[in-house]
């Protein structure tokens, strides 16, 4: 009798908490849904349904990809390509830099290794934005203003990527390396053919970290690129927003494009490698 009553009580509590979770989730998702629906309908319809709020505010009367087509055929389309180029170049160079450093800091033994590791990780943890302004002045002195390389370089050093890869390399049994060295393999060979093939998820994770950092970059491209034909997508979108404030539809479509790419990236990498630990800052 009491057991039954207790169960119904805990069930009632579970229903209440679920209802609360639904309300909280709705608060967060509704603006995003509004963004999505706005990207699929003409701007004047967004305007017309701003106020008062009805179900029409969220549900378009007809779905069209017009905003996306108009957006991608304009300067934003070019900027998206530049963003991709910057991100892939940064991931490629960044992975090489991080893997080399992580190998040296986990497998090779030399005096002061711990101190070098601490130095590397800490120096990359200082927020980049704080030094972006002085760095952009150095870059203009080095002739890197308005170049692809200028956009790429600040993203190649990622302390978290080095940290992740090092943790993973430490978990690979040293006997593998011993075996390879006995066979006469030099260190670059060991890294390339023993450690990297075993790096799967950790490499994907580091690639994702580097990619996400570059994809959403705004301040740095603003500082180092003035030529609008070389501008990355977030800055290009902000510019269209400033110039054509009334074309909400295209602005919304741009925001959706910028959001879908990293989401897809996470999804694909998760599918292939599983167990991505974006939230593993604590480990």
């Amino acid at each position: 009798m009491t057991a039954v009553r207790r169960r119904t009580r805990s069930e009632r509590r579970s229903i209440l908490l679920t209802a609360l979770a639904v309300v909280v989730a709705a608060l967060f998702i509704l603006p995003a849904l509004w963004l999505l629906s706005g990207s699929l309908r003409p701007s004047n319809e967004i305007f017309g349904t701003l106020s008062p709020v009805t179900w029409r505010t969220l549900v378009p009367s007809e779905v069209s990809l017009g905003n996306y087509l108009a957006l991608l055929s304009g300067p934003f389309g070019r900027s998206i390509l530049i963003s991709f180029a910057v991100c892939f170049l940064t991931v490629a160079i960044g992975l090489v830099v991080s893997a080399l450093a992580a190998y040296a800091l986990s497998v090779l033994r030399f005096r002061g290794r711990g101190a070098v590791f601490a130095f590397v990780v800490i120096s990359f943890m200082v927020p980049f934005e704080a030094i972006a302004i002085p760095l952009s002045q150095l870059f203009s002195g080095w002739g890197l203003t308005n170049t692809l390389l200028g956009l790429v370089l600040p993203g190649i050093g990622n302390g978290l990527a080095i940290f992740n890869l090092r943790q993973h390399f430490l978990s690979i049994p040293t006997s593998y390396r011993e075996a390879a060295t006995v066979d006469g393999a030099a260190e670059p060979r060991v890294l390339w053919s023993v450690y990297l093939p075993l790096g799967g998820a950790a490499l994907a994770n580091s690639a994702l970290l580097i990619f996400l950092g570059q994809w959403s970059a705004y301040l740095w491209p603003l500082l180092v690129v003035s030529d609008s034909s070389l501008q990355v997508a977030p800055v290009a979108l902000a510019r269209t927003f400033g110039e054509y404030t009334f074309d909400f539809g295209q602005n919304f479509a741009g925001a959706i494009v910028l959001s879908v790419v990293p989401a897809l990236m996470m999804f694909v990498l998760q599918r292939f490698f599983g167990g991505l630990e974006i939230a593993s800052g604590e480990k």
């Binding site: 967060f28 704080a130 006995v182 994809w215 902000a238």
Partner: protein, 323 residues
């Protein structure tokens, strides 16, 4: 770890000693080789740190000690701490610093507290927790440029937020166009993005707490509130500290919504240090003064982070001392 591997590597050299080869030079050769490769492998990362992190830091400090002439035709001259004294004497700058500090004192604990409450809710026994969790996280995937656009339209005087307020019987609010509400609106935008993101870290921290603690609390007939304060919070201290520090760093350099939506206004009410340093350097092209502002921003941010470490660490020790 390294001890066991050195035992492995010692074995062949021990065998060679029996065969008559001299072991010491061989080991030395090997060690020298490892050092050589360590230098080669670390070089790209160290060059990156040197040129992309240390050089700009030094150049900011040095540049802040010079006084330049707007336009930059004449070279800047050394002026010691003049830039800092000028800033100290400038009321608008003092207000900017104060505004940045107030903004951070409010937004960081608030975001972390809400993220914690949501994380606790999402780890309770509820239907389809994964779905609600994903929905709360989605705003963190929208790039901040996109979120700024959405909210600037949502918060327009004739926008949907005001429509909802009116429907509920309230009066429409000016939000971003009012000096009294603009900063709070920026906080709202930053929190819409941040809370779901930090929630993910806190959920994985909550999951790491062994369930025995909660069972023991249940046996002690501790209510949910007591359990929360005496078990959840103390055992979540490390993830909480991490999230608080990371959030603080992110909010001290918050830039995009301010540059895009308010340009520091209205009436400077959203001008914070990061945006101010950008404006001084680029809009007013006073590079040296801008460098001094960057240095001050960095120092204040580091002080904040150090204080947070101190606070949570000391708490930790005190808790251990009493138990």
């Amino acid at each position: 770890m390294s001890r066991s591997s050195s035992a492995v590597s010692a074995a062949p050299s021990g065998a060679q000693r029996r065969l008559g080869a001299s072991p010491a030079p061989r080991r030395q050769l090997r060690r020298r080789k490892e050092l050589f490769w360590a230098v080669v492998f670390l070089a790209p990362a160290l060059v990156a740190i040197g040129s992309l992190r240390i050089a700009p830091t030094i150049s900011a400090v040095v540049s802040s000690l010079y006084s330049g002439f707007p336009g930059g035709v004449r070279p800047p001259v050394f002026s010691g701490f003049d830039n800092y004294l000028d800033l100290w004497g400038n009321e608008a700058f003092r207000e900017t610093v104060l505004r940045t500090v107030v903004f951070n004192v409010i937004i960081n604990p608030l975001q972390v507290a809400i993220a914690l409450l949501v994380a606790v809710l999402m780890t309770r026994r509820i239907a389809a927790p994964g779905l609600w969790r994903t929905l709360v996280f989605i705003p963190a995937v929208v790039p901040i440029v996109g979120s700024s656009i959405v909210w600037s339209i949502a918060l327009r005087p004739d926008g949907p937020v005001n429509a909802i307020i009116t429907a509920l019987g309230g009066r429409p609010q000016p939000f971003l166009t009012s000096p009294d509400q603009a900063l709070a609106s920026i906080m709202l935008i930053a929190s819409w993005i941040g809370i779901g993101y930090w929630m993910i870290f806190l959920i994985s921290g909550l999951r790491a707490i062994p369930s025995e603690y909660y069972e023991a609390a249940k046996l002690d007939r501790a209510g949910p509130i007591r359990t929360f304060f005496q078990i959840t919070i103390p055992l979540l201290k490390r993830p909480l500290l991490f999230v608080l520090v990371a959030d603080t760093v992110a909010n001290f350099v918050l830039f995009v919504p301010i540059q895009m939506l308010t340009n520091g206004g209205p009436q400077n009410s959203t001008t914070m240090q990061m945006f101010n340093a950008y404006r001084t350097t680029y809009t007013y092209s006073s590079k040296n003064l801008g460098a001094a502002e960057v240095v001050i921003l960095t120092i204040i941010m580091l002080v904040f982070v150090a204080l947070q470490f101190r606070l949570l660490r000391d708490d930790d020790r005190a808790a251990k001392g009493t138990s």
